[in-house]
Amino acid sequence: MTEGGDKARAEFLSEAQELVETLSRNLLSLEQGRAGGGRVDPEHLNEAFRSVHTLKSLSGLFGDKHMSQLSHRLEDLLDDLRLGRQTLSDAVLDLLFTSVDVYWQILTSNDSQQEHRGVQEILDRLEKLAPAAATESGDLDSYDIEQSLLAVLTEYEEHRLLVSVKQGLELYLVRVQFELVTLDKALTEIKDKAKPFGEVITYLPAGEAASPELIELDLLLASGSPLPEIEAALAGPRSTVRQIQRRKRPTRSSKALPRPVPPRPRGATATPPEGGTTAPMAPNGDGTEAPPADAAPAVGLLRSVSQTVRVDIHKLDELMNVVGKLAVLRGGLSELTDNARSDGQRRLASQLWQLSHKFERSLRELQSGILEVRMVPLAQVFERLTRIVRKTGRDLNKDVRLVVTGAETEIDKLIVEELSDPLMHIIRNAIDHGIEDAEERKRIGKPAVGTIALNAFQKGNHVVIEAEDDGRGLNSDSLLDRAIQLGAIAEHEAKELSRADALNLVFLPGLSTRDKPSAVSGRGVGMDVVKTNIAKLGGSIELESEPVIGTKITLTLPLTRAIVTALLVQVGDGMFAIPLTSISEVNALEESQIRMIDRTEVLSRRGSSLELCRLRQLFQLSTETEPARQYVVEVMAGTRHLGLVVDTLQGQQDIIIRPLGRSLHSVRGFSGASELADERIALVLDPGALIEEAGSGNSRERGGRIRVAG
């Protein structure tokens, strides 16, 4: 495929992904609406329909056969739903959610023509879905509606009108005058005003306006509110509200509609409901639908493009590179300032100093601006989790609800992408291992429905995500047994471990507390992988668990990986950067506190011990003797700590981490390199890898100790 084609496809995929997310969001709202009282907001159905409609056009355009077929069938189903020809049952909703999963499957596979198992299956299921029309017995004859108005309603509008009538709502006709030039805005405004009172079923041009610059519209509003309330809200100098009176008794035969509704042929493009941007439709002589079939989604698409710009994250990386180069220039400027000062050119020095300060301020603005653009709300990943909870709960026959708070918390786009898998694992584990089945919950007096609370918030330069379940909690005894079986700890060690340390054993590779593996979360190979993945993002994971009460997993993640504040340290002639987010404390090294345990140097202080790693030896940096004074930088990954012994501390700096090239992929212990402000290169240490390498990685209780990281 050509490069241009690849690019176009990437844009197609990203657009499609957004549409699938919109679909998913609206399905969830529909489900919640149903759960919360049975009322379904027609707007959610409409928006779901619009997404699928656009997906259909898009996938057709890009020749994605599977997506196109699926969208086609789904569009039919959603059209039937919004027209009341199909009832939104559990089975239908389930089918819709499955479709979202199939969309994801298609989107995440690289080859557009590859066969997807799920596609044919869902197509078959959609095909087999029996029409189960919601019966409507609304009688429009009981309202005094002008025939001319009824004649121009679309099938959808008729359906909505019938539903409103069936619910016993009042009908109002709001006549408004707008200036033609501001029509779109004014129409949106009045629709927004009317929204709290009910549903605007249609709007049509009415009568003759007073001048050619004006247009007069009739809005048909269905509402449960009495006339005075509607008048108070909507009537004004340019608008009047009239209630459509109910007739005492039908004057004609009780034919529901002035014209029969022919069943629409399957597959015909249905008219999406008008959005706020579409012009009012002109009544057609024959009373069929007026606007061209694709007008509304086209306008919708244009609109979304004009408001947001989709940017490849790597372009932002390139911009960040430029910031890095500017930072180097700034370093040169300060050096120049110092030179001028030492040469006695005080006037020049002061001017340079001012200049470099202004430069620095703008640079910071630029840097934070770019970082801000990279930020996306966690809702992006949380929404997918809601689906997982739904599906996993069903698979395991457990009733679980997910309560999300802080979904608006923002974090770097690249981190969000990488969070999906670990969070999925955590949630699945919680449902599979944590939440008890309904009978057991009842027996111990817990509510039948299990709860997983997902809570996110920003804390300084970090984002904290807590996943808490009200399940049975972790069994530390069985964790200990497993760890002994695996040979990870000795039996006598097991006795000495605190509960917190015992719980941390769950992060050991290959450890599972479950005797038989399940299809959902497997054999517990998950938690160590979760931990590794979180560590790769520069984050850490912590676990608390109380028997019977539940388990809480806390992820602490840096806001961004694009730019990282690091402590610079020197060892021999090598300069290294350690991300501040993984440093727990820094101390001068006291040789007297070092003890040898199993040929490993361990620092013992205040009743705790810390394994030491001398970077000079590990990296074979220089043969010259170590300086008299050295420092211990205590780094952590998850709950494991390690003391890195370094020669000198060189202060903090914001750095951009660049990955090492392919020839250096086999080198362990570094996450990359960074050019410093003085043009030197610092290798960025990967604390997670170093701790892993140190092996045992002794865990320590964390107490009230001084932290250097904010």
Binding site: N321, V322, G324, K325, V328, G574, M575, L618, F619, Q620, L621, R658, P659, L660, G661, R662, S663, L664, S666, V667, R668, G669, F670, G672, A673, E675, E679, R680, I681, L683
Partner: protein
């Protein structure tokens, strides 16, 4: 900038056909450990002067280290050691030929000296397939001869990976 600026290779004359319509290859020749080697001129992005190269602990012996070129991180390969395993480690001197791998990574080849640009016709180039064996042979593509002068043409894709 305190470091020697490189010669922009892009200013060199592009490859063109000779009068006899015979394809001609423009080869940038360089010296490593007393031998003459060559790479297609079009594959060299830039020739850089010596600059400070940061050694990466625990790296393979044929990697000198990393340096930055206008903010980009470049791995510098010890060309001699890659062609002649066991040769003494390169000194931080000579020139760096900046190239780009298929996946866009910038790689520098540290060489002793840049000799110049030579034009070879196809008849002057002999493939070495099957003639040489061993790890190193994969780095060597063909041999170009002009009179008694022999230039070993290296395979950049293999040399830089």
């Amino acid at each position: 900038m305190s470091l020697a600026e490189g010669i922009e290779a892009s200013t060199a004359v592009p490859a063109r056909l000779s009068s006899a319509d015979e394809p001609v290859r423009e080869i940038l020749t360089f010296a490593v450990g007393g031998e003459a080697y060559g790479v297609p001129l079009t594959q060299v992005l830039e020739i850089l002067g010596v600059r400070s190269i940061t050694r990466v602990p625990r790296s393979p012996p044929d990697v000198v280290g990393v340096c930055t070129v206008r903010g980009e991180l470049v791995t510098v390969i010890d060309t001699r050691r890659r062609l002649e395993p066991g040769a003494p480690a390169a000194q931080n001197s000579g020139r760096i030929l900046l190239t780009s791998t298929a996946d866009g990574e910038k790689v520098g080849l540290l060489v002793d000296e840049v000799l110049g640009v030579q034009r070879f016709s196809q008849t002057q180039i002999e493939p070495t397939a099957g003639v040489l064996v061993g790890d190193v042979s994969s780095h060597i593509e063909s041999i170009a001869r002009k009179g008694t002068q022999v230039t070993v043409l290296v395979n950049l894709a293999s040399l830089t990976s």
